[in-house]
């Protein structure tokens, strides 16, 4: 004999001590699925038989069961469970997690239990206890269903137990995760048959209106969100068409509250003929009994909701919270039909609906209807597509996975809604933007695991996220602007060449080893990293970013701070960029009204003035003057033995101090007017609906160059060359190019693989490596770093931490921007950006 249980159920074994529960559990369930009260006793008290530990042991048992059910795992409770009060708490837990409670009762003869008990070495209960167990169990057996068990199975003899040949786990009806569509999901129809036919036709399906028949376009399927009937002019035809399509496998349908009420009426139950049911009832007057039977069985068979496409899509009439998806309890069905209400009523006397979507954080997209809305709006990956056709709105379909909305207007207003639903659209931007204005801390603090498309599970440690929260709150720009933060960049491996800390040879070697043959070398400007967002107008700022302050964009640093201290300068600077983009046709070329660029902003002192004066210039002044006077003193003492040697050492040190001052001085320029700022963009990160990570760096460079140079244009082009690493001449040419750049005082170059995102044999390849020039490095490693004795020690530097950081930040940055252009809720974007900032607080040698 085989038994069937739902694949997600709480299985409660009940039986006297010695009835064979543990053996039964071990035989039919895997060890991790079994939670045993004896084991819990052992954990809390070191003794599985210690009865005085029972209270604590059961607390633990309930805790474990709760965690497992929350995670959607079948769980078996191995405890005597002989009294109703023992089982009550477990049934409650099953309800709390919307899981089916199943009772498997081992109602063995008392003698069998006593005999087994006698044979046990570890436990020997007195016979009266066993007898008591058996009596208590029997007393409650008849009421198990009343206690809430959906399924009760009982074995009365060891032979019956032995006859069991299998426990089959039956998937829930709502589980259709293997079904990936594509779907056309249709909102509340309410008997608007004409509009339904028009909508189906505009979706590309073939409709035979008279026959109430639809032939669905090849490859697609229809998905009806319920409320097929009531209020509208022709509910019977809608029912006929939907039933036909469902029966032919061309459609799925979930029930709405109106459909279920109709069913009750058809079943002859006592329902009030109101809220449009009276209309349907009239339309159904005189239907044939067999059609009525068919209709009833169709409605009765509707499944509350479906989980589709590997858990990526959930459909239910009134929507569904994450913790209810794929579960099969009565409360789930209630929610699917009616949603949740706050218990209050509004000024129209209607129940106030609890806005579950505002708090929805689930991974699955939820498409629902039930509440008429003037326009469909995405909120936290959920969308209500009931656009109130019967109230004179429109009938809407959502194409999945395309996320495309298709509507047909109502031919007339069939019913006046009690609550006007066509109120004007909110002024403060979309629902999502309103919610995004105040991001939730919950998914940002503490240890975080962030999934990215480029790298699995990036961990942000608690201390780092705490640091990020402080920086973000105190210094960063509005999170709605922060759609991207650039990753840190690692240098190439330390050069073995005697006079160099960094040399192109090591970059060639790294990328060759990673299987990258073609690289691009870009001049590294010495300024400050800046992310620039420019919009075509202030209205675009509001529309795309939900930001209502004046301005056309923003310019922020790699830690998310505003680049310019005053808004007037910032906006004037951005306006110049905007004008260039407009004049040269950028908006048309990219069909966009905004752009986000990754760039270097010069001069260095524009942002780093304080650092420059307090640290660099100060160190230079101290070194030059101190060493000059030391040299002067030594020159007066050359007659003393040994002093000439010391003099030449100090003379050399003095020369290095002069070089240090020259090194930072090259990157400084007095900033008086806007003309003194230069912006060198090197990545065209994103435009409306697109990121450009799929393009080569050569494309980025060429594209950007078209918008660089000319009058009143802060944007300057970056010089670059390509190198073929398999070709020695090409490599040498690139090395020579670097030598030329750095000899002329340049910072150095950045070497990137040809493709923006490159996966190598060992995973993601560094998106860029920097090779800095010898003189530039003086700023980083100190005035005298080139001294042989110092350089040899400085060469012992580890790059591993920096490399790993660069990759993780890169993956997070890409994730943030991809989420943003895909129109995802800000919390996805912000979590990734927050992650970059958090990782930046990891302790890494800042000289790298």
């Amino acid at each position: 004999m085989k038994i069937q249980i739902p694949e997600l159920s709480l299985v409660i074994l009940a039986g006297a001590s010695g009835s064979g529960k543990s053996s039964f559990a071990r035989q039919w369930f895997s060890p991790t699925e079994i939670v045993s009260s004896d084991a819990c006793r052992g954990i809390v008290s070191n003794n599985e038989n210690s009865m005085d530990a029972s209270a604590d042991a059961f607390d633990l048992l309930y805790f474990i069961v709760g965690k497992r059910l929350k995670r959607g795992l079948l769980t078996v409770v191995d405890a005597t469970n002989i009294r109703p009060e023992d089982r009550k708490r477990l049934v409650q837990l099953a309800r709390e997690y919307y899981v089916m409670p199943v009772a498997l009762v081992l109602n063995m003869p008392v003698q069998v239990c006593m005999e087994r008990n006698r044979q046990r070495a570890d436990r020997n209960l007195p016979p009266h206890v066993i007898l008591n167990h058996c009596t208590q169990l029997k007393r409650g057996l008849g009421r198990l269903r009343l206690e809430g068990f959906k399924k009760v199975l009982e074995w009365k003899t060891p032979e019956q137990v032995d006859a069991l040949t299998g426990v089959e786990r039956v998937p829930l009806w709502n589980n259709r995760t293997a079904d990936s569509g594509p779907f056309d999901i249709i909102g509340d129809i309410h008997g608007c048959y004409e509009e339904l036919c028009q909508l189906l036709e505009s979706l590309g399906h073939t409709v035979d209106k008279a026959a109430c028949r639809v032939v669905v376009q090849q490859g697609r399927r229809l998905l009806f969100l319920g409320d097929l009937v009531d209020r509208g002019p022709d509910s019977p035809s809608v029912l006929r068409m939907v039933m036909q399509a469902v029966q032919e496998g061309m459609a799925l349908c979930v029930p709405g509250n109106h459909d279920m009420k109709l069913l009750k009426w058809l079943q002859g139950k006592n329902v009030q003929l109101q809220h449009g049911l009276e209309v349907t009832a009239a339309q159904l007057e005189g239907i044939t009994p067999e059609w009525k039977t068919r209709l009833m069985s169709f409605l009765d068979g509707l499944i509350s909701h479906y989980v589709l496409d590997h858990g990526k899509l959930v459909v239910a009439h009134a929507g569904l919270k994450e913790n209810m998806q794929g579960r099969g309890a009565g409360a789930v069905r209630e929610f699917c039909l009616y949603g949740e209400t706050t218990g209050e009523t509004d000024e129209f006397g209607l129940p106030v609906r609890y806005n579950w979507a505002a708090e929805y954080r689930g991974k699955a997209m939820v498409v629902y209807g039930h509440t008429p809305v003037p326009e469909c709006e995405w909120l936290n990956n959920t969308i209500d597509i009931d656009t109130g056709c019967v109230f004179g709105g429109k009938l809407t379909a959502l194409r999945y996975p395309e996320k495309e909305l298709v509507s047909v207007p109502a031919l007339q207003t069939y019913v006046q809604p009690k609550r006007p639903f066509l109120y004007p659209a909110a002024l403060e931007g979309s629902l999502q933007q309103q919610q995004d204005a105040l991001p939730d801390l919950e998914t940002l603090t503490g240890k975080q695991l962030i999934q990215t498309r480029l790298m699995q599970n990036i961990t942000v440690r608690e201390g780092n996220s705490a640091a990020a929260l402080e920086v973000m709150s105190r210094f960063a720009v509005d999170p709605r602007w922060l759609i991207y933060l650039p990753p840190t960049m690692s240098p190439a491996e330390t050069s073995p060449l005697p006079d160099y800390l960094e040399h192109p040879e090591e970059a060639w070697r790294y990328f060759s080893e990673q299987g990258v043959q073609k690289v691009i070398c870009q001049e590294k400007h010495m300024g400050s990293r800046a992310v620039v967002i420019v919009c075509r107008s202030n209205e675009v700022v509001k529309k795309r970013f939900g930001i209502t302050t004046p301005g056309i964009g923003i310019c922020y640093t790699r830690t998310g701070r505003k680049f310019f201290n005053d808004d007037v300068t910032e906006q004037a600077f951005l306006l110049r960029i905007q004008q260039v983009l407009t004049n040269r046709g950028f908006w048309e070329e990219f069909s966009t009204d905004w752009v986000c660029m990754d760039a270097e902003l010069m001069p260095w002192n524009a942002k780093a003035q304080v650092l420059l004066q307090q640290q660099y210039a100060a160190t230079g002044a101290a070194a030059r003057n101190g060493l000059a006077q030391a040299v002067a003193a030594l020159q007066q003492a050359t007659a003393v033995p040994g002093i000439p040697g010391l003099l030449s050492a100090y003379t050399e040190r003095h020369a290095m101090a002069e070089k240090f001052t020259a090194a930072y001085g090259r990157y400084c320029r007095e900033v008086k007017t806007l003309d003194d700022y230069q912006l060198a963009p090197f990545h065209l990160l994103a435009t409306a609906g697109n990121t450009w990570f799929n393009q080569t760096h050569e494309w980025h460079m060429n594209t950007i160059a078209r918008y660089c140079g000319g009058e009143n244009n802060p944007m300057i082009a970056t010089s670059w060359i390509l190198a073929d690493l398999a070709d020695e001449n090409s490599r040498n040419a690139a090395t020579a190019w670097w030598m030329g750049l750095t000899a002329a005082g340049g910072e150095g170059m950045v070497v990137k693989p040809e493709q923006y995102v490159t996966q190598g044999a060992k995973g993601l390849v560094q998106p860029a490596l920097k090779i800095r020039g010898t003189e530039y490095l003086r700023i980083i490693y100190g005035p005298e770093y080139t001294h042989a004795a110092h350089l040899s020690r400085l060469k012992k530097r580890g790059l591993q931490a920096k490399r790993s950081l660069a990759l993780r930040e890169f993956a997070l940055g890409v994730e943030a921007l991809e989420s943003f252009v895909a129109g995802q809720p800000l919390r996805h974007v912000h979590a990734a950006v927050f992650g970059v900032l958090a990782l930046e607080s990891e302790a890494v040698d800042p000289r790298l």
């Binding site: 204005a437 105040l438 991001p439 939730d440 801390l441 919950e442 940002l444 603090t445 201390g463 705490a466 929260l469 402080e470 973000m472 709150s473 105190r474 509005d478 999170p479 302050t549 650092l611 004066q613 640290q615 660099y616 210039a617 100060a618 160190t619 230079g620 002044a621 101290a622 070194a623 003057n625 101190g626 060493l627 006077q629 030391a630 003193a633 007066q636 003492a637 003393v640 033995p641 040994g642 010391l646 001052t661 001085g665 400084c668 007095e670 700023i779 980083i780 490693y781 100190g782 005035p783 005298e784 770093y785 110092h790 020690r793 400085l794 302790a843 890494v844 040698d845 800042p846 000289r847």
Partner: protein, 468 residues
């Protein structure tokens, strides 16, 4: 990095005996992260100059434990550093090491020279000075020196950047013993810089007292010298000051009967602010309070004294501040019942944080002005829209009051203030909140009021309107 000591007392070469260093030789002693070279640039009967030259290894300086203890060990600034090139605390330790006999008043071959006042000229290159030429004069003129100082520019290429804090200093004294002069330098070199390369511990107090004997007690800049020498460690400072005062009191008591009137401690504005807020909360009958931006927990401490407040939470964006708050409130030693009243947690006014829901009152003392004005919408939405407590108390500076000390409209009271509002601006902001979120509000002055400018601080008390 360079100190020279010259004398023209005949025969000047006696300086070699006094310093225990032979004028014809180059000698070195090792100091932390390097060496100090001693040599003479001149050694005749009429003039003798001894040079002490530091030779600090910049790489070792960074890698050594001196840097590792610093909290900003991962800041790039640490690696580009003036320390190898200046005459600062490293020079003091070099003096103590190279000239220890002279500093301790010993001279093996010519002991009679120890107590002889000499004409001495000292040059120091280069000294970082916090306080400029004025400080140099205030430090050395009372000790009888003539001070000449050349200030160096930050960078001649960029004259607009102005002067650096580095000076080449020449000090001339007509008659001072070598020992006293070295003690002056030993103490005052780090004082000029206002920094030290090593961690200051209680031994430093003893060193200061030793080296300061005979001159520091009377020095008009005594307070500043002690404070800076002990690197602003208040506990040590009072220790040192007390010890200094003991000696001084003993000396002065003998001389005069005069009593110095004890200065009445000024009640600080911040304390007034906190007390006012606490009193208002008590009067409002509030039972549970959230202090947003609690900082180091001063208000929490006041609130904890009142049993009326059954649940108190302090939230701040800075983990460091919260740690200090926990230390100051001694949360680890609090009795359990007390501890259960109090929660400290990191949060932010611009993020929704459900842990902060359900308090009767939310208090923001001097918080809003630390936010960009453009972020206040988010703060409002969070506090008044989402948390929506029955009461909200907000304090912020009154900008008009700044007129008492400045004419400059752009000056703010704290470098992190993003804005400061006039009374009218604050009132308008409060009125906007009331309208949007259904509150009523009273705004009142806090602190000593001035007829023209009002009080230094303004307090707004918001009360949620009953719905419908």
């Amino acid at each position: 990095m360079l100190l020279t000591i010259s004398t023209n007392r005949f025969p000047a070469t006696d300086l070699g005996y006094m310093l225990h260093k032979h004028p014809a030789k180059w000698q070195s002693v090792s100091v932390k992260n390097g060496d100090a070279h001693i040599f003479y640039t001149e050694a005749t009967d009429t003039c003798c100059t001894c040079a002490l030259l530091l030779d600090i290894d910049p790489v070792a300086l960074v890698r050594g434990d001196a840097g590792a203890a610093a909290p900003d060990a991962f800041a790039l600034e640490q690696y580009v550093n003036d320390r190898p090139y200046v005459s600062a605390s490293l020079m003091s330790t070099a003096i103590a090491k190279a000239f220890s006999s002279a500093l301790n008043g010993k001279c093996k071959d010519k002991p009679e020279l120890v107590n002889e006042p000499l004409p001495l000229t000292i040059t120091l290159a280069v000294v970082p000075v916090k306080g400029g030429k004025e400080l140099l004069e205030n430090l050395f003129v009372p000790l009888g020196y003539q001070v000449e100082a050349t200030q160096h520019m930050l960078d001649e290429q960029f004259p607009v950047w102005g002067q650096s804090r580095y000076f080449t200093v020449t000090l001339t004294h007509a008659a001072v013993t070598l020992q006293t002069m070295l003690a002056h330098l030993y103490v005052l070199i780090p004082v000029m810089d206002n920094d030290k390369h090593y961690w200051v511990n209680s031994e430093e107090v003893q060193k200061l007292l030793d080296k300061g004997t005979g001159w520091l007690e009377q020095h008009p800049m005594k307070q500043l010298i002690v404070r800076r020498y002990l690197k602003h460690q208040t506990a040590l400072m009072s220790n040192a000051l007390d010890q200094l005062l003991q000696e001084e009191q003993a000396a002065t008591a003998a001389e005069t009967e005069g009593v110095v009137p004890e200065e009445v401690p000024k009640v600080r504005l911040h304390d007034v602010r906190l007390q006012t807020v606490c009193d208002r909360l008590l009067a409002l009958g509030v039972g549970t309070v959230l202090d947003m931006g609690c900082g180091e927990g001063k208000l929490l401490k006041l609130l904890m004294k009142h049993a009326q407040f059954t649940r108190i939470a302090g939230a701040d964006v800075s983990v460091r501040s919260l740690q200090i708050a926990a230390d100051k409130l001694k949360t680890d030693r609090m009795p359990e019942r007390q501890r259960n009243r109090l929660t400290l947690l990191q949060s932010s006014v611009t993020y929704r944080d459900r842990r902060l829901d359900g308090f009767e009152a939310v208090v923001l003392v001097e918080v809003i002005e630390h936010l960009e004005e453009s972020r206040l919408d988010t703060l409002q939405k969070n506090i008044f829209g989402s948390m929506a407590p029955a009461r909200v108390l907000i304090t912020t500076p009154n900008k008009e009051w700044n007129r008492r000390f400045t004419e400059d409209d752009t000056v703010m009271r704290h470098s992190d203030h993003r804005f400061e509002w006039t009374r009218a601006q604050f009132a308008a902001w409060c009125a906007g909140i009331c309208e949007t979120y259904g509150y009523t509000c009273s705004v009142e002055p806090l602190g000593q009021e001035e007829a023209q400018y009002g009080a230094p601080t303004q307090l707004a008390v918001f009360t949620q309107q009953p719905q419908n």
